[in-house]
Amino acid sequence: MSSVFITQSAAPVYAIGVSLAAVLLIKLSERNPNAREFWTIAASVIKFSIVASMVPAVLDGKVLGCTLVTIVPGLEIAFKVDALGLFFALMASLLWIITSFYSIGYIRAEKEHAQTRYYMSFAIALSATMGVAFSANLLTMFVFYEIITLCTFPLVGHKETPEAMAGARKYLTYLLGTSLLFLMFAIVLTYSAAGTLEFNNQGILDGNVSKAMAIAIFVLFMAGTAKAAMMPFHSWLPAAMVAPTPVSALLHAVAVVKTGVFVVIKIVLHVFGIKLLADIGLGTALAYYASFTIIVASMIALRQDNLKARLAYSTISQLSYIVLGVALLSPSGITGSVMHMVLHGFGKITLFFTAGAIYVATHKTNVSQLDGIGKRMPFTMAAFTLGAISMIGIPPMGGFISKWYLVGGAIEADHLPILLVLAASTLLNAGYFLPIIYRAFFLSPPEGESAEGICEAPKAMVIPLTLTALVALGLFFFPGVFLELARIVVAGATGGY
């Protein structure tokens, strides 16, 4: 066991606390929408600054952390900022700023009800996301994982129509049900076997469990992390599409699903450790299992006419890339996996933002209605094109980088069939994204609609989506800090291997 010296720092607590404080302020300024939205923006900017302020120390190789409360010895709410957590937090808090502006544009344009509740839930969700990112042990992670589920429930069911409530209930059933049944079970077994819940670079289970027990715990962990949307626990994600689009963007690109795959990465690297998984061959099993989800979800996506549903299945498929990468247990695979978290994040949030912009500007929801829309919404559809290219993984978009590393990882790990999976999936991605681009730019609009004149969504929406698309482009040229952090993650995880 390599023990890492932890530099005491309350910064993670502040990063979590700032949006909780904002919740109170948002509630208090309920009657004054401008002040209320100011608190959201202020909190998101402050949160990002706090997270960013930790980057130099972590790049230096330090680990920041502190213990908030000790419930009983062995059960603690404690935080530890390592490269992986900071990576996730940095991405989530950066995207929150952009999403906040977009939310304000969308919610005001649609004149949604219960706006205060909306912003409050959003802020709590981001606090909890930071909590997961910075958790030092499984219990802390579990607590914040559940908080995310609970506080996004009002967001998914925001419209309060029977359909929305049914979607929200399905969302809750899948996420809460699996985590209470399987994740908690796995945590109990882990504690009984290892005597600790503390994450460790080399894993905590190695040498403490029999092979059968390790397999059982691993299967329970994977089944318990429904947020990663691996089949067969994926169907909450399309059901949650009833939510307003900024929520879908948050769910798909920032908080919820990324928490899921983050937890999977944490479990693979910091609970089991590469060595144990390689010894019992579970990495390979997980890699092929994830491949199944990649292919099948892409095939389902091909058949979706509703734009958001198509994006949802695309997310399911893309999340399994992340799982696949880490399951390869090789340095490039892990790099690809971690990088894909952020690259998919920016790409997918762009796509959802455009879906929302199209809806606000034209109230169109289906792919088949999008003929010729590129002429009326040039910025939106240009951003969509960039996002889609990033999803497919063609240069010069960021998505290429992660795919490159994944290919490298598959070769390093000597799993050549995985290359076929990646190739097939790339084709499938192209198959469901390119027709949309083709329709938008090359087909003429349906009769009765004018083809001329620009009719974009409000600026508060168009600017954020252009920004995220440009970031997705920029990350190809300057992966910079994210790649640095990914290198530290890999060095830590493979250090003892």
Binding site: I71, L75, L139, E146, M165, L180, L181, M184, L189
Partner: protein
Amino acid sequence: MSIITSNFPVLLVITPLIVAVCIPLLGRINKRIPPVAAVVSTAFTLMVSIILLSTALDSGPISYWLGNWAPPWGIEYVVDTLSGFVLVVVAFMALMVALYTPGTIRDEVPNDKETTFYSLYMLLVAGLLGIVITGDVFNMYVFIEISSLAGYALIASGKKREALTASFNYLILGTVGATFFIIGVGLLYMVTGTLNMADLASRLPEIYDSKVVLTAFAFFSVGLSLKLALFPLHIWLPKVYTNAPSAVSSLMAATGTKVAAYALIRITLSVFDVEFSRSVDFGSILLVLSCAAIIAGSVLAISQTNIKMMLAYSSVGQVGYIVLGLALLNETALTGSLIHILNHALMKGALFMVVGIIVFRTGVEEISGLRGLGRCMPFTMAAFTIASLSMIGVPLTVGFISKWYLAVGAVEAGMWYVVPVILVSSVLTAVYFWRIVEGIYFGKAANVTLKGPTGLLVPTMIVAALCVVFGVAASVPVSVARLAASALLGGGGM
């Protein structure tokens, strides 16, 4: 001063007893005195029980000889870690409910019965405290009867006619339970000639092979299982909790079954010992029953439309948790069991108190009628939500602590298949509480007119807040429970 402190063990029981007798007289002078007397005397018992517990923790078990007659001839009161812990729980809940009572009984009990109600209330408290503190099996029987009789009358004092049948039902089954208990006492006396628990514990091991001892054990366990409503002997409980006045349901749900569970633990592990339980394979029987209770209680709770009924069935499930630790018989699981005595008292107490407030202020008892109440009763509903999360077993609430120890204890005992039972019941609990919580916050509010004071909120909020306090700072109660558990498993503990 020292004459008072040295007599604390007996004062703990006779104070409520004397107050119970005086209340009818005081009530004639002024109807406002009985509630005050109830609060003052329960506050006193709480203070005394805390002092007794801390003394027992500092300097070992306290033995008090009633009338200075030395045991085994005289009656002995014993405060060790276990009984001190349960005493504090009972006294605390008695105080909280006493604070809560004056607000609710105006509606629920006929005017001329209010004074009697307080008198019976104190009698119930005296009985419950007596069961816990006594070190004598016959004396325990006497207190069981005192608390039961007071309980029957309190339940029947509700205005609803169903309260009478519920009370009668409980009277019959409760009496059967108590009779089984006294038969057990009789059999043990027959073969050992003693009634003192410590003395019994030293004499019994020689004659563990005797069929009489085995029969006595069977009578004790079945009798107490009836009193603690262990599935499938639970049928009296739902109607009682549903139809009794809110204050009575709150106190009985929070402490009644817990004290019976205490008695079962005391008899099986202090009078008899772990080896005997193991030799008759008592654990396996309890394991099956407690798992059945946990699942059945949750399933039955889901199917209820009346909220009190739902909470009552949920109690049937929760009793299963307490018994589960006794079934697993290792230190971790037993710690979980004992800590659940406190934890369940807090959460179920809070829930019944909240429901009492809802019924009092809106007149609604059906789950469907609670929709949209989150907007007009924010604090009450916050208390309800906290207690519900705790029942589900969400970390940072007390419910998680008990479930954690029970689950880890089950794995330690090599019975990992018990863990899914606990987790499935968590999910089922989430189902029946979530539909209420969702309705409270997302439903369109029905037209309800709120009436009555908000003063009821204070004790309710305190209890609900403690669900979180002891869920976050669990070290103190857990260390006490662990001491008690290791003493129980280590060799009698008395």
